[in-house]
Amino acid sequence: MVRVVASADLRRFTGGLEAFDVEADTVRRLVKALEARFPGLGDYVDRRMAIAIDGEIHQDAWTSPLRPDSEVYFIPKIGGG
């Protein structure tokens, strides 16, 4: 099970839940699982957020793999100058 930590901004989707476990082995499957459990959340993070997997930032990365003990954290997408 992947450990998902929801930042304050996302807790409006999770009913205030800060951390929870989800079954997924890729980012794409994670997004689907999030959408199934908290309608709107999967779609929102897919469009608006980057995903930090075990500390490494992934953007637009459906194929990025998740290990069973991965920690997943959503942050706004990063651009730059």
Partner: protein, 766 residues
């Protein structure tokens, strides 16, 4: 295709093996740039082109009641006049280019106003004429009727009850309860962890401050320029100076309602961007004028237009409160950031929030950010967008904490430093970071130990930037004589052609002067995200290396064919194929040149192309040290000495890495001391030129000692991390902290111009 990903022996910590990476060759585009041959945005012309010019709003906030262009159209030599009515109305569509998510509808309305002009300088109409003089005359003949509205410039004024509303249907996002009234606050974001009250209760000392910064401009020396052609069949060609030809193509297609395949964008050389050329201004106008007139149209902004109508970065008002134990251990931090977004939502307050405490391991904190629209030009990205602003506040407060506790400022940072495994304030867990090493590098400098004279002060500050990867395409094509061409889709702003050629040469095992890098137009290479966010050497470099690896795999196949051995018995080393088949021990190595010469017989041209979405960019940490001297009678600040250390992962071309750091420092010093947007009572910028918008000149600065700390990023073939953003993060606070230590007074309002410093010294003395 994984079989072709055959990585030669260029392991991550194999510096000993590196022949090209880490050296300082002359850049491949250098000769053109020192002889005046390099063609920038304004250097391109098309036969029969017209001159396009923009009519801009004379008001900071006004309803456009009507636009009468009859007289302008009737003027001989005028070929087209366009207004907002000539562009499609777009629905909201968020384009996640980064922390400052852009709404394409807003971008379209920023390119040309529709019902309202939202800042002084907002484009209202545009003309194309056969000469610049006639175009100017035509602009003067366009009669726009405005209903002038009250305007608001300062961020806290815009947040105040009863402030003039820019967008009457905008409601603040991110609040617990949906607001019932519209507001200029587009969004509130919050990052928090731990029990803040308990954290402050546990503190032995608390420092607190209110900090402000003014809007500052990227200040690239090349004004925006474009030539655009809309042919009779709807096919469009755009030549322009930008940070990304694919960005220009995407946005032009959206703003004009075109299909992407109808638009081809050729990147000109770019005369500086720093984030300011990550959006479009002129290109859709030039295309629409070309469509209306049937001629190509060239448009060049004046410097004044650049200041009035292109993205500066936010001015801000910030509050910081820090709590710490006597030994310096931070117990709590409360940070509030209010950033000016300009006319449309999208200030970099999100990144400002995420970076604010990224260097610190704090058990309890709360960071609250407000994205606030104002009647000023829409902000654009500027080097580590948002981070220098919040770092100014936090690092100033940290310096006050060090002073209050009597602790060395580097020791205080070390005590609270993030390490590998620390959960960053913005969420994820750090890996492979070189922050502590960078702090040590500054502590180890001779600079840090040198005594100071009277009226002098030494300030230090730290800074953080995420760095990003993203989508890139690169091709490596082997020529029949064994030389190579590297094709990418990323404009070269600061020497990236050199780093691309070097990484390809290193991988192939050939000399760097055998590799010719080029930046291709949108029809000639696959999609690549723009050059920005310090992503190009990391992400596009990764694509170049993978393409070179594909080429090597192919070269080995060709060698196997030539030798008639199994490909498993071919090794690639030092630019040659080596035969490992014991049965053919006599075969001499085949050089790249030799294999390339046989390519027709062995299967045709040898090329490799890679498109990828690079992940795993390593974050950058910067630690800066600055000495200043104050003239106590005039308040004038002289920067005497500056050292800047940064974890760069691995410097591909160290001279250009140093150059990025030195340039970032110079911009940050300008921001700290003299640069600011000054608005008059009518919301007009008063200093829209390089005379009074004071970027540092050569005599304002000392040599800048750039110290490269190399903690490799395992996700990059050579260990590189992005370097361009982090160096602008610490200077604002490093300078302010130096001034604090020279004067004994904390100055929390940038810029630290002489009148302000003299006033503070007078108040202190009196």
């Amino acid at each position: 295709m994984s079989d072709v990903l055959d990585r030669p022996d260029i392991g991550h910590n194999a510096d000993d093996h590196l022949k090209v990476v880490g050296t300082r060759p002359i850049r491949p585009d250098g000769a053109d740039k020192v002889t005046g041959r390099a063609a920038y945005g304004a250097d391109f012309n098309m036969p029969g082109q017209l001159v396009g010019k923009v009519l801009r709003s004379p008001h900071a906030h006004a309803r456009i009641v009507s636009i009468d262009a009859k007289k302008a159209r009737a003027l001989p030599g005028v070929k087209a006049v366009i207004t907002g009515a000539d562009f499609p109305n777009l629905a909201d569509e968020f384009h996640e280019g980064g922390e400052a998510a852009s709404n394409l509808r807003d971008m379209a309305m920023n390119v040309i106003a529709r019902d309202k002009a939202l800042y002084h300088g907002h484009a209202v109409a545009a003309v194309a004429a056969i000469s610049s003089a006639i175009a100017d005359e035509a602009l003067a003949l366009i009669n726009v009727t405005y209903e002038v509205l009250p305007h608001v410039v300062e961020v806290e004024d815009a947040m105040a009850e009863g402030a003039p509303l820019l967008h009457p249907r905008m409601f603040t996002e991110g609040l617990e309860a949906k607001p019932d009234k519209p507001s200029n606050v587009a969004k509130r974001n919050r990052i928090a962890r731990g029990d803040l009250d308990a954290g402050f209760a546990a503190a032995d000392v608390i420092v607190e401050g209110r900090y402000t910064t003014k809007a500052t401009h990227q200040g690239y020396i090349e004004p925006h320029a474009t030539v655009a052609s809309w042919a009779a069949d709807g096919q469009c060609n755009v030549w322009s100076s930008s940070q990304g030809q694919f960005m220009v193509r995407t946005y032009c297609a959206k703003v004009l309602g075109k299909e992407i395949s109808d638009i081809r964008v050729t990147p000109a050389e770019i005369g500086g961007g720093f984030g300011g050329k990550t959006v479009i201004y002129l290109e859709p106008l030039a295309l629409a004028l070309s469509r209306e007139s049937g001629h190509p149209v060239k448009m060049i902004m004046s410097r004044e237009e650049v200041f009035r109508a292109t993205g500066p970065t936010s001015g801000a008002v910030m509050h910081v409160r820090l709590g710490a134990k006597k030994d310096g251990t931070l117990t709590a931090a409360d940070v509030e950031l209010k950033y000016q977004a300009g006319a449309f939502p999208g200030s970099p307050v999100g990144a400002g929030s995420m970076t604010a405490l990224a260097c610190y391991d704090i058990p309890a904190f709360r960071i609250t950010g407000y994205d606030v629209v104002t009647n000023t030009p829409k902000v654009a990205a500027y080097r580590a967008p948002g981070a220098p602003i919040s770092a100014f506040a936090v690092e100033s407060a940290m310096d006050d904490l060090a002073l209050k506790l009597g602790i060395d400022p580097i020791a205080l940072r070390e005590k609270n430093a993030v390490h590998n495994g620390t959960k960053a304030a913005y969420g994820p867990t750090f890996q492979n970071i070189g922050y502590v090493e960078t702090l040590q590098a500054i502590r180890d400098t001779e600079h840090y130990r040198t005594p100071l004279g009277p009226n002098q002060g030494r300030g230090m500050a730290v800074g953080f930037w995420f760095n990003v990867g993203g989508e890139s395409t690169a091709a490596v094509n082997i020529n029949e004589d064994g030389t190579a061409v590297v094709v990418t889709g990323n404009p070269d702003i600061g020497g990236s052609r050199a780093s691309m050629a070097m990484m390809a040469a290193e991988t192939l095992g050939i000399a760097v002067d055998k590799v010719r890098p080029m930046v291709a137009d949108t029809a000639s290479i696959g999609f690549s995200m723009l050059t920005g966010g310090s992503r190009t050497t990391f992400a596009t470099g990764m694509a170049v290396v993978q393409s070179a690896e594909k080429v090597i795999a192919e070269l080995k196949r060709r060698a196997a064919l030539i030798w008639d051995v199994n490909v498993d018995h071919v090794m690639w080393k030092d630019g040659s194929a080596w035969c490992l088949d014991p049965a053919k021990a006599d075969e001499k190595p085949l050089s790249l040149e030799a294999i390339a010469g046989q390519s027709a017989r062995t299967g045709g041209p040898i090329t490799g192309q890679t498109s990828l979405n690079a992940q795993g960019a390593g974050p950058g940490f910067a630690v800066h040290l600055c000495d200043v001297e104050i003239d106590p009678e005039t308040g004038h600040v002289t920067v005497l000495r500056y050292s800047a250390a940064q974890d760069v992962g691995k410097a591909i071309h160290p001279a250009y890495v140093e150059g990025q750091i030195q340039g970032g420092v110079a911009q940050g010093v300008g921001w700290a001391l003299n640069e600011e947007y000054i608005f008059d009572r009518d919301g007009h910028m008063e200093n829209a030129g390089f005379l009074d918008y004071r970027v540092p000149v050569a005599s304002d600065l000392p040599m800048i000692d750039a110290i490269l700390v190399e903690v490799a990023n395992p996700r990059h073939p050579f260990g590189a991390k992005g370097v361009g953003e982090a160096p602008i993060v610490p200077p604002l606070a490093a300078v302010a902290n130096a001034v604090r230590r020279a004067t004994g007074v904390r100055m929390a309002d940038l810029p630290l111009s002489p009148p302000k410093i003299r006033a503070v010294l007078d108040a202190k003395g009196g």
